[in-house]
């Protein structure tokens, strides 16, 4: 995957807010991961159209004071290795 590739959630994966856990969770076949707020912010921007750069921009617009470029790259690489993104 290159940096210009649009990021897409793997088929069968779903991001959802769970009030009982006071957190976003990532749901997939017979499994679930509780996400920290930063991970949830990034995943909520994964829409099948945006690439890493565009996701970083969108996030930067939301949090103008933070330095995010490294964080997004790192998260995307972990999420891809976990099979959440494809």
């Amino acid at each position: 995957m290159t940096e210009s590739t649009a990021l897409k959630m793997t088929n069968g994966f779903r991001l959802q807010w769970e009030p009982a856990q006071d957190a976003h969770v990532l749901l997939y076949p017979e499994g679930m991961v509780k996400l920290n707020p930063a991970a949830a912010e990034i995943l909520s921007l994964v829409d099948g159209d945006r690439n890493i750069e565009e996701i970083t921009e969108a996030l930067q617009a939301k949090f103008p004071d933070a330095d995010l470029s490294g964080d997004v790259k790192e998260f995307v690489s972990i999420a891809t290795a976990n099979g959440w993104l494809s």
């Binding site: 793997t10 088929n11 069968g12 779903r14 959802q16 769970e18 009030p19 009982a20 856990q21 969770v25 749901l27 997939y28 076949p29 017979e30 499994g31 679930m32 099979g83």
Partner: protein, 375 residues
């Protein structure tokens, strides 16, 4: 007794004990024919609603064979509407292309199809019925209709040597994920343990094969290999602890902290027909009795691993030692560990492969086993 601080996260809805298959490794209770009265559609919907309100979010429709229930589509639609992630755990028998489409329309997220072996003869012998070709067709249909596809193969003495054929079949069917799950010894599987438990050599070879495929096909398919806990020295963290995240509702509405718990006759399991899920989860003796660590005895009570493995599996402790408060005998620290090592040593004998007959899961054998128990 401890009480829960949060609600269940997983709801397993065992819709029925009826099943067209007769697998001798089935985890259903051997006396399943005693529980004939199934929850109605409305009762299931109310139960799912109550569990969802407590925070349950993963929902498995299981059985028996859940496709036997004609209202499955209706239950899936209701669960989807409530915000559950819905999983159908099926043999594929009772499925056709139209039903796969109807379930998708109802909002089903995932279908897991189980196989008994990599080829027709052994598959159908262990299923106790003609099933293999239809399973393959249904796996293709599930994939074609855009579901994520997980295949499940239970491993046992007679099929484990063909694990590479099994993984090749999964690749041929384009599975996204494959569970290569060694038999867990509960229910029918415990009764048939001698005929099912592989020997050390078989396991080592299977594990090596699994690792080879995991490496080779990592971009294509996820192979999950689960070793049998009988060959471990540390017990599994069963259900992440009793009454912690998992709620099982049996076909008759009995609420169980684990599928295997029904055998514990000293516990009066509450029923969703006359108590709310909230009351059952937080207040019932059945869910509080082995919650946390207050119930533990030595060696668990003072063990440094007790918050990692929770003393292992309560059902396994109960069925092997007669007391659920004992350490899971799989644990090498358990004074009863030899109950497991003896079974393992027996499995090393070559004649085991030929001499042991397994009992198929069917009403006739269930009746026979009940008679044996009472006589």
């Amino acid at each position: 007794m401890a009480s829960a601080t949060s609600g269940p996260r997983w709801l397993l809805a065992e819709l029925t004990y009826k099943c067209p298959l007769q697998c001798p490794y089935c985890s259903n209770p051997t006396d399943y024919t005693r529980y004939q009265s199934e929850l109605t559609t409305e009762e299931w919907i109310q139960t799912m609603r109550q569990a969802r309100d407590l925070g349950a979010v993963q929902l498995g429709f299981s059985g028996g064979e859940p496709l036997v229930r004609k209202d499955l589509e209706q239950l899936v639609a209701a669960a989807h509407e409530m915000g559950y992630y819905t999983n159908l755990i099926t043999s594929g028998i009772g499925m056709d292309a139209q039903r796969v489409a109807d379930l998708k329309e109802a909002g089903l997220d995932h279908i897991q199809i189980s196989f008994q072996a990599s080829e027709e003869v052994l598959n159908d012998r262990f299923a106790g019925t003609k099933a293999f070709q239809h399973k393959k067709e249904m796996a293709r249909e599930v994939k074609a209709q855009g579901y994520p596809m997980v295949l499940n193969f239970v491993l046992y003495r007679e099929n484990i040597d063909r694990i590479e054929d099994i993984m090749d079949l999964a690749l041929e069917l384009d599975a996204d994920q494959v569970e290569l799950a060694n038999t867990q010894y509960y229910g029918w599987a415990l009764h048939n343990r001698e005929g099912l438990l592989p020997d050390r050599e078989q396991l080592a070879a299977a594990q090596a094969s699994a690792e080879k495929y995991q490496e080779k096909y990592q971009d294509r398919c996820r192979f999950l290999y689960v070793i049998p806990d009988y060959y471990e020295t540390r017990p599994k963290a069963c259900m992440s602890g009793w009454g912690n995240i998992f709620l099982n509702i049996a076909p008759d509405g009995s609420a169980l902290p684990c599928q295997g718990a029904r055998q514990m006759t000293h516990i009066d399991f509450p029923n969703v027909r006359n108590r709310s899920v909230k009351e059952i989860w937080f207040e019932s003796n059945a869910f509080n009795v082995y919650r946390g660590d207050e119930w533990m005895r030595d060696p668990c009570k003072t063990c440094e691993h007790r918050h990692e493995d929770f003393g292992g599996c309560r059902c396994q402790a109960y069925q092997l030692t007669g007391d659920a408060r004992n350490a899971d005998p799989v644990c090498s620290l358990s004074p009863d560990h030899e109950l497991v090592t003896q079974a393992v040593e027996k499995a090393q004998k070559e004649e085991m492969s030929r001499s042991v007959k397994v009992a198929f899961r069917n009403p006739k054998n269930a009746k026979q086993l009940l008679l044996n128990d009472s006589g």
